[in-house]
């Protein structure tokens, strides 16, 4: 009896059955994905909805009259304002809705994109990397079923975000159609980058690699629309190269048009198609980007916990370094334009850079440096939190059993984190300074050097956040409260002055406690206190880690 026969000359009906077979098990896997994400998806949606609801409630208080709104609108006419927010339309008669669409939509879109990237990678490449996909695919599960289930969950998550966002805006009494467009715009960006993550999950062999590639694309998209919007009020051709730009171009609350969302839908569909094509061509668990073999012997540099952490983190540190530097260079090069706009409208300097009375360019650079220090603090917390995964996977126990010592392990990790963060701060400071100096020309003096050196003033504060994350790890509480403190600090630091929050709160915001160097002279006392705080936190973290059981 021939065993070849069934695969040849099949009638069309059977071929159709085979195509359906590639999706077998999708429904079951889709429900399983939602079961696993039953908390994550609502939390993301509620967090984003809450943010919009909060802005909707607070902005009218911060900008009580049209004059105040027009001051805000003036910032968006300025390239630096546009760079960090949106294209700027409806500025002649600025309203709350226009403010949300111009300035908050971009931020929400980035958040939705991150949610989507994490979700898709979690359900595709991470499953393959862990070997669970092999177990699942040994069941009656088609080649495309896991990917389709993940994309289904992506759709649900973004729909949830859109619904909650729209509800929050309607709750604030904003126009229905425009609210829907803004919400749909956020979800559209989420879908595009979720679909993009489906592609990068086919390319990279590791979940971290897939997330990194998709995150890089997101950074690029934000940068493109930033530069594009800075080039011309209302956006330029570059803005139209970015999915975030497309959503902002719906001009919600001013001159609503739906068609700019169409490219997002088409791009998301094309990316999904690409992911399916790539998935059909490869072995389970394999990536299309080759994994290179590494050295067969451990070098001396690896022979300590610090060496190991450095080795594990070097790729991540390098990408952060390049990303921060590029972004800082770009921001810095806008410095000259900012100064000119300040000369035309001195009241702007107060809003954007704080009133320091000194050189307005330096004031603006100091403010920007603070934003970059916030990003570095995020890096510090992320890196220290990696210890959790190391412990859960049993690798920490392996190191400890090899005689590493708990205190040494924790301190080495912290030392590498802070050394890396010092480099990141310097890279951001140098980028800002060099960018500004190149725009100003030969009479910039030693501006580049000053801003670079000033960046290190934030190292004690970054150390505090790293030590705080270490304490949370030592106690093995959740890391949520560290994030809560950090994100609250960021939000108050970024939006506090605009929202006219109580002075006491603004004074207590950690990033505001660091002297705004190089605009104001360096005052060592707060830095010294922060350094001491970090030491105290660390002194609590080490014994806490020593006292508790390992998780695995």
């Amino acid at each position: 009896m021939s065993t070849e026969a069934p695969s040849r000359g099949q009638p069309d009906g059977l071929r159709g059955a085979r195509a359906a077979g590639a999706l077998a098990g999708t429904g079951r896997l889709f429900r399983f994905a939602l079961l696993q994400d039953r908390l994550r998806i609502p939390l993301w949606a509620l967090a984003l909805g809450g943010l919009v609801g909060y802005f909707g409630a607070v902005l009218p208080l911060a900008y009580p009259d049209q004059a105040a709104l027009q001051t805000r609108a003036a910032i968006l006419k300025d390239p630096s304002g546009a760079l960090l927010s949106g294209p700027g339309y409806g500025l002649e008669n600025y309203t709350l809705g226009a403010m949300l669409a111009n300035e908050v939509l971009g931020m929400l879109a980035v958040a939705a994109a991150l949610m989507s990237i994490f979700l898709v990678v979690r359900h595709t490449r991470a499953e393959e990397e862990s070997g669970r996909a092999e177990l699942v695919r040994a069941g009656v599960v088609g080649r495309y079923a896991p990917l389709t289930a993940a994309l289904g969950a992506l759709l649900v998550a973004n729909a949830a975000v859109a619904v909650i966002l729209a509800a929050a805006m309607l709750g604030n009494g904003l126009a229905a159609a425009d609210s829907l467009a803004l919400a749909a715009g956020v979800a559209a960006v989420g879908l595009v980058f979720g679909a993009g993550a489906a592609v990068t999950s086919q390319l990279s062999q590791s979940a971290r690699g897939a997330t990194g590639l998709a995150g890089g694309a997101l950074g690029l998209a934000y940068l493109l629309r930033g530069i594009g919007d800075a080039q011309r009020v209302g956006g330029s051709a570059l803005s139209w190269l970015s999915p975030i730009g497309w959503s902002q171009q719906t001009r919600a609350f001013v001159d609503l048009r739906w068609w700019p969302l169409l490219p997002s839908v088409v791009l998301a569909a094309l990316l999904c198609l690409a992911a399916y094509l790539l998935a059909s061509r490869r072995d389970l668990g394999a990536g299309l980007l080759a994994a290179h073999p590494g050295p067969s012997r451990g070098s001396r540099a690896l022979a300590s916990p610090a060496g190991l952490v450095l080795r594990l983190e070097r790729g991540s540190i390098l990408s952060w370094c390049l990303g921060l530097f590029a972004f800082a260079l770009l921001t810095g090069s806008m410095g000259q334009t900012i100064v000119e706009s300040f000369e035309a409208r001195p009241e702007l300097a107060v809003v954007i850079g704080g009133s320091t009375g000194g050189d307005p360019l330096r004031a603006a650079l100091s403010a920007f440096l603070r934003y970059f220090a916030m990003a570095v603090a995020v890096h510090a917390v992320v890196t220290v939190n990696r210890l959790r995964r190391e412990e859960d996977s049993g690798r920490t126990a392996l190191l400890l059993a090899a005689g590493a010592g708990r205190a040494r392990l924790l301190l080495h990790c912290l030392a590498v984190t802070l050394a890396a963060d010092a480099v990141l701060l310097l890279a951001a400071g140098f980028g800002l300074g060099a960018g500004a100096a190149s725009a100003v020309g030969p009479d910039s003096g030693n501006l580049a050097l000053d801003v670079t050196a000033a960046s290190l003033a934030y190292l004690p504060l970054v150390s505090c956040f790293a030590a705080l994350a270490a304490l949370a790890y030592g106690l093995r509480t959740g890391s949520w409260w560290v994030w809560l403190i950090l994100i609250a600090s960021l939000l108050i630091g970024l939006y506090g002055p605009v929202l006219r929050l109580p002075e006491a709160l603004l004074q207590a915001e950690p990033f505001g406690l660091v002297p705004a160097v190089p605009s104001v002279p360096l005052n060592g006392t707060p830095l010294l206190l922060m350094g001491l705080t970090a030491l105290v936190l660390l002194a609590a973290a080490v014994p806490a880690f020593r006292r508790r059981d390992l998780s695995a």
Binding site: S7, R28, Q36, E134, V136
Partner: protein, 300 residues
């Protein structure tokens, strides 16, 4: 009847590395087949190809007479798989994981599921993150054994089990065989393979070096003979097929190639034999023999 698994000259490369090099493997319906080889020999890669998770570079692979890469979904209704390294979803309980895996295969007999949970002494209400390696393996075993399938593909399924559970596992495999199921068992536990398997395939560096019934394979290695005679038996050393002759007190020990035994007996008979034992080679000896340097290039 056509074989359940029929792999012929299967090759698979990972970049410059040749993982499988014209490997052959054949399982008849109803047999329990041992799949042996040192680490990195290509056992798991072969199984991944059989499951349609990896595509063959060349050669033919047939599972129930069909191509596992194109017909994976249909074929998977008829098989269950247990990997050696089971990774589960940390926040999902063992019972939920069993149900997920079982439902992906099209459902199973609920009584059988609870009976297996009991036999393997597995608490299904605990989250997978709290399970040891052995407990995670039990989840995959219960899910696989609870399904009514024709073929069990087991890739080192007992590497994390304790001896008691190992015994339960062996009982389950015997029951599966009695029910007419076919079992492919990749294992390092040679005693396990020896007690369970009818036939074995031994691979090395991606090639099949031995395949056949255990009793046949034994013929390929030498039997160990121990003899005590009234007269001096040392002349046996001159016979063809006799090796490693040495004395242990009054006892003469040597090893004999399979075909040489009649001549040896003929030689010994007139020498007043007091005692004679001939021990067939154990699987372990077969295995070690296959991988000893002088067995390089040996092919069936």
């Amino acid at each position: 009847m056509s074989p359940v698994i029929d792999v012929h000259k299967l090759s698979k490369n990972f970049g410059a590395v040749r993982a499988l090099d014209e490997l052959d493997l054949r399982l008849q319906a109803g047999e329990v087949h041992g799949f042996l080889g040192p680490n990195g020999a290509g056992k798991s890669t072969t199984i991944r190809v059989l499951l349609g998770a990896a595509k063959a570079d060349s050669g033919t692979v047939r599972l129930f007479g069909e191509d596992p890469w194109t017909e994976a979904v249909r074929l998977h209704r008829r098989l269950a798989y247990v990997p050696g390294d089971v990774n589960l979803w940390p926040k999902i309980t063992g019972g939920e994981a069993v149900d997920l895996l079982v439902s992906l295969r099209g459902g199973a007999d609920g009584r059988r599921r609870s009976e297996l949970l009991e036999r393997f002494d597995l608490d299904p209400s605990r989250k997978a993150r709290t399970y040891s390696k052995g407990n995670r393996q039990k989840v995959a075993l219960v899910a696989a054994l609870a399904s009514d399938v024709e073929l069990l593909v087991l890739d080192e399924p007992t590497s994390g089990l304790d001896p008691l559970m190992e015994r339960v596992f062996q009982d389950c495999v015997r029951e599966a065989k009695a029910a007419g199921r076919t079992v492919l068992l990749s294992s390092h536990l040679l005693a396990e393979v020896e007690t369970l398997c009818d036939r074995v395939t031994i691979i090395r560096q991606g090639r099949t070096v031995q395949s056949g019934a255990l009793s046949e394979l034994r013929h390929l290695a030498r039997a160990a003979v121990s003899v005590v005679c009234g007269k001096d038996p040392s002349g046996v050393a001159l016979l063809p097929g006799v090796h490693d002759v040495r004395r242990d007190g009054g006892r003469l020990l040597f090893s004999v190639e399979d075909g040489a035994l009649p001549a040896v007996l003929e030689h010994l008979l007139p020498l007043d034999i007091r005692s004679f034992t001939s021990t067939p080679p154990t699987l372990e000896e077969l295995f070690v023999h296959q991988y000893s340097p002088d067995a390089q290039g040996a092919r069936p």
